[in-house]
Every structure is written in C-alpha cells, then in structure tokens.
C-alpha cells in the first residue's frame, strides 16, 4: 500500500542520492491529504432518543482516527446528501454521487441506569451492503473508547489488520520552571485525550515501557538523585524498585511474555545490557563491551534483543541472540542510528536516524535493509510502533517545547497529538486492550 508522490519526491530523492552513497534513503514528503486515500463519510450519530445529547461527539472521534490512519479520507460534512442513522434510511445513489465509497452511521440510545447503547453500521456504498453492524452497551466514561473501538473495527474490515486506535500511550511531561519544575509520567488515549498522571517527581523521569498486558509500566526515575529502574502497577499504583545498582540503571524493556526485563547497567564498568528475571531478580549479562550499549528491545519471538551500541565508533543498531553469540550489526546507512523499536511482525524497525545535523524517524526493513525516512523535522526522538505496526508515535520539538506526533505508514500522514500540557517527550505506545466479547 505505497502511495508515494513521485513528482514531489523527485527533487528530494536526487538531493539525497548525491549526499548518500550505498543504499538510497527515501524521504517521504509530508502530506496532509493523501492521494489514493479511501473516501469515507462519517455521519453524526443520532442522539434524538436521549433526554440530553452527549458531549462526546462519536463521529468526530471516528473521523479523526480514520484521517490519522492515512488510509482513509473522511469527506467534509457539508458534502453529505442526507443524515441517516440506520441502513434502511440510506439512499445509496446520493452517496455514490457524493464520492463516498464507504459510509459510517449510527445512533445512541438510552439504557437503564444512565448508560447507553451505541449502534453503528459500516456500509459499502458501491456494493450497497452492510459490512459491519454492532451494538455496544456503554457507560458515559467509556464513550470515547467506544468510538476508537469502532474505528478499529472499520480499519480491520478494510485492511485485515486490527486497528490500534483504542489503545493507550505513556509519555513524560515536564511542567513548571526553575524550582517548580516537575517531571510527570502520564498515560493517555492514543489521540492524547484522558491524560492521567501515574507519577510526579522533582527529579527526571525517563524511558516508560509498557508491560505486554498493559497493566504495568517500567521506567527510570532519578528521585534518589541517580537513575534507578522501577515497575509500577497502574491500577493499584504499587511499585517496586527493580534495579538500583552502582552506576547506570536505565532503558528498561519487557520480554514478550512479561516475565523478564532487559536493562542497561554500568555496575561492571561501561553501560552493558542485562536481562533480569522479574520474579527472582536474577540478572544475566548479555553484552560485554567498552562501548555504550543501550536501548535494548526484545524481538517479538523473545529470542533476541535489538540494541544501540557505538562499538563501531558511532551509534548503530545490533541484534544479539539471547542464546549467545556475537551481535550482528543491522544499520549501515548514516552515522547515527539509535532508539530502536520492533514492529509486531518482527520484520521492521522504527529508529532515530541522524545525518547532517538532523535527527529524524525512519523505518528499517530488516529483510532488504531498506531505510525509509518518515519525518521532515530536525530534532525527533523516541519512535514507538503502534501494536499493529502501522503507525509510529514519536517526539519532536516545536518552538521551545517537546510535542508528540504520529506518522501513518499507510499514507504518511503526520498528526500532532492534542491536549498535551508542558514539554512532552518519550512516548511509548501501549499494547492492545483485551477484546470485548460480542
């Protein structure tokens, strides 16, 4: 599903070909409207049956999700020929004339005890048939999540891949100045809404990492005036210090089974990578090198780690099998490749690519070693894949402030997250939530 605009790309490509030997780096022009995106109409959900209309606009949440995916282009409401809420009201020829290929309609009905029934239908305009139809019983506080769930179902119906809109992100926000400066670890919806504070500290917080079940976060805290690794259970707010050795205790990453934590420790000299069994706290040293070895991340099969090391003289990415053996270098393009994240398919990495004083987010195809630069900024960092591997969340600088962006790999749409107070950095995209049983 590549929709690269070659005409706008050509000058960029030529410039890059001159600058880089070896494999070519493809830079994708940032586009807001994506050519080839599927035109969809999302009609405002009918709330006339409710005593008081909802403040949550389900259709606009779905619209924002679908646009953000880069796969869809939601048509402006002013072009809608009618406002149906059930499929029997739909006049397909009118919608076909409007240019919409698919139609999302729905309504909200009252339920006993102050909750709601959200009904939605996803219709194929050209084939004149229903592709999806659901009814969700929902409490008021779960309305936004339900809208994201609807977006997930639509995304999956079209792509065959589960959507990742109804998931959460964690990030560090820095608020206040001087002595009132606070480091805040927060969790929010993927569109930036519903931010919740997990931990607040006067000293730096770093490197949040989600447990595979989404119930806990590992992170680095300087609260004792040096970096230490903690695990915190989100619902109970209970936490334990996992590593407080002499020197660095940094860069935690969970194994796919949630039983181990990869860490960076410098207790034995320079920063090296260790794997800790969470239950027994038994440590196993994985790398042994004078270089900086850091930012480990498990491959989805749990059998290897990918990490950053400057053992070659500059930061590059390596893979090391947990069964032993020498690390294998993965990146050769450019002088600076760091901060790896592995897609759930295990075939692609998101990374921080630095060249000529610019630090941008790139995707590395592990099968053909092709590197694709995804952003056009100067100071990006901390790429994190969506659990379906179709979007990358990252931090960048706007003015004097850190902000979070997402880039879609389906259509290269760049999307800034809303509702972020403070200087925001180090986003980590959480896992899927358990599926609702229908």
């Amino acid at each position: 599903m590549k929709r690269i605009l070659f005409t706008t790309l050509l000058p960029l490509l030529l410039a890059l070909l001159g600058a880089t030997p070896a494999r070519a780096v493809i830079t994708i022009e940032i586009t807001e409207g994506v050519e080839g995106a599927i035109p969809v109409a999302v009609v405002g959900f009918d709330m006339t049956q409710l005593p008081v209309p909802l403040k949550t606009d389900l259709a606009s949440i779905i619209t924002s999700d679908l646009n953000r995916s880069g796969l869809f282009k939601v048509l402006p409401e002013s072009e809608y020929p009618q406002r149906p809420s059930q499929s029997r009201q739909v006049q397909y020829p009118l919608w076909k004339a409007s240019g919409a290929e698919f139609l999302v309609i729905g309504r909200v009905l009252p339920r006993e005890g102050g909750s709601y029934d959200v009904q939605f239908q996803f219709l194929d305009v050209l084939k004149r048939k229903q592709l999806l139809g659901y009814r969700f019983p929902v409490r008021a506080r779960s309305l936004r999540a339900t809208a994201h769930e609807i977006s997930d179902l639509i995304y999956e119906k079209i792509t065959g891949t589960r959507g990742a809109f109804n998931t959460r992100i964690a990030y560090i926000s820095v608020v206040g100045k001087g002595k009132n400066k606070k480091y805040v670890l927060q969790v929010a919806d993927t569109d930036g809404y519903n931010p919740q504070t997990i931990l607040e500290s006067d000293e730096p917080l770093m490197s949040p990492a989600w447990s595979p079940d989404g119930a806990s976060l590992a992170y680095v805290s300087f609260e004792n005036r040096r970096p230490e690794v903690f695990i915190q259970h989100l619902a109970s707010a209970r936490r334990s210090k996992m590593a407080g050795f002499k020197g660095l205790n940094n860069a935690p990453a969970w194994s796919p089974d949630g039983k181990k934590l990869a860490l960076v420790l410098s207790k034995d000299g320079s920063p090296d990578i260790y794997v800790m069994d969470i239950a027994t706290r038994k440590l196993r040293r994985i790398t042994r090198h004078r270089a900086i070895d850091t930012e480990p991340v498990f491959t989805p099969d749990g059998k290897a780690l990918i990490f950053t090391s400057d053992r070659s003289g500059s930061p590059q990415l390596y893979r090391i099998a947990l069964s032993g053996g020498r690390p294998e270098r993965l990146t050769f393009e450019g002088p600076y490749n760091a901060a790896p994240d592995v897609a759930s398919d295990g075939k692609r990495l998101a990374l921080l690519y630095g060249e000529q004083g610019r630090y941008r987010i790139a995707e590395l195809d592990l099968e053909d070693s092709n590197l694709t630069v995804l952003t056009e900024n100067r100071l990006d960092e901390s790429p994190s894949f969506a659990p379906n591997g179709r979007m990358v969340l990252y931090a960048t600088t706007r003015g004097n402030k850190g902000v979070l962006y997402m880039v879609s790999l389906d259509g290269r749409v760049q999307h800034k997250l809303s509702d972020q107070a403070g200087d925001v950095r180090e986003p980590a995209w959480g896992p899927y939530k358990p599926l609702r049983t229908q």
Partner: protein, 183 residues
Amino acid sequence: MKIRNLTIAFGLLFLAACQTQQSGEGMEPTTDTAQQTQDSGMAEPIAGGAETTQLGEEQLSARELLEQPDSPLSTRVIYFDFDSARVRDEFLPVLEAHGVFLAENGNVRVRLEGHADERGSREYNIGLGDRRAQSVRQILLFQGASSDQIETISYGEERPAVLGHDESAWSKNRRVEMVYDVQ
C-alpha cells in the same frame, strides 16, 4: 572522534588520549602503557601548573580553598565536544588541580554529573554523560584522588544548563559538573 596528534609527553595528556580511544572507538585501550603511566603518576604526583602550588597552603580549609575565586578549583564545569568524552586540553590544568586537591583532602567528596546536549536519543545520551563523567574521574584518580571520594552520575540530556536548540546552547550543555561535598 579522532585521536589528536599528541606530541606533549605529559602523563596526564597521555592518559586522556587513551581514554578517548577507549570511549570513542570501543576498542581495548593500550592498557599496559596506560596502567604504567597511571602507576608512576600515583607514586609521584605531577606538580604541573603554577596554580597547584597554592593548594599546599595548609592554613586554608578545604572549603576555603574551593571558595578562592582565582583558583582553578573555582572552575567546576568541564565542557566537551559533540559526541565526545575527550577532556579538552584547556581543562586539563583545572582537573589536575581538582585531583591534587582531592588527594590532599581525603575527607572531601565530589560528585561528577555528566550531561549531554539534546540531540539524538535520550538513553544514548545517558551513556554519553556517563562516559564524560568517567573521563573526568580517570584524570582525578590519576592525580591521586581516591575512588571512594568520587561518585559519578549521568543525567544525559535531562537537565540542560541552557535552553535552546542551537550550538550556543548545546555547547553549554555538553558538560560534567563537579559538585563538592565538604563536611
């Protein structure tokens, strides 16, 4: 990160050069010579620059010595080049003075806080700040400071001294701060 052509037959500089190779290239350093130099340096501390002579004046307390405005000890921040942990030549006399001061005041402790500029990855920058703190530590040890007097920590890019997104800010943020604890 290239090793400069060092022509100065000065133990301190030699050690700094070995560190550069060690940290920058990730190779085994020339351990034997480094160790020898270090050993001979320990046995016979180098009385280098003229600045160090006043440190011997016993009438001043450790705290007073640190508060002398003209003393090299008043320089407590060491700056670094981009992606480098090599101590620049201009800071060697300063670190020499700090090392001698620590050697002569065994009850004084110092905390070396390594920092990096904002560019690149945050965890890699933690490693870089650590490496900078280790470079400074090596020089202090070489001057006779004891390892239990020195604590190192890295803040990476988390605590910039100067806000800004250009070289003038970055050059102030690539640093090691020496924080003394004088009882």
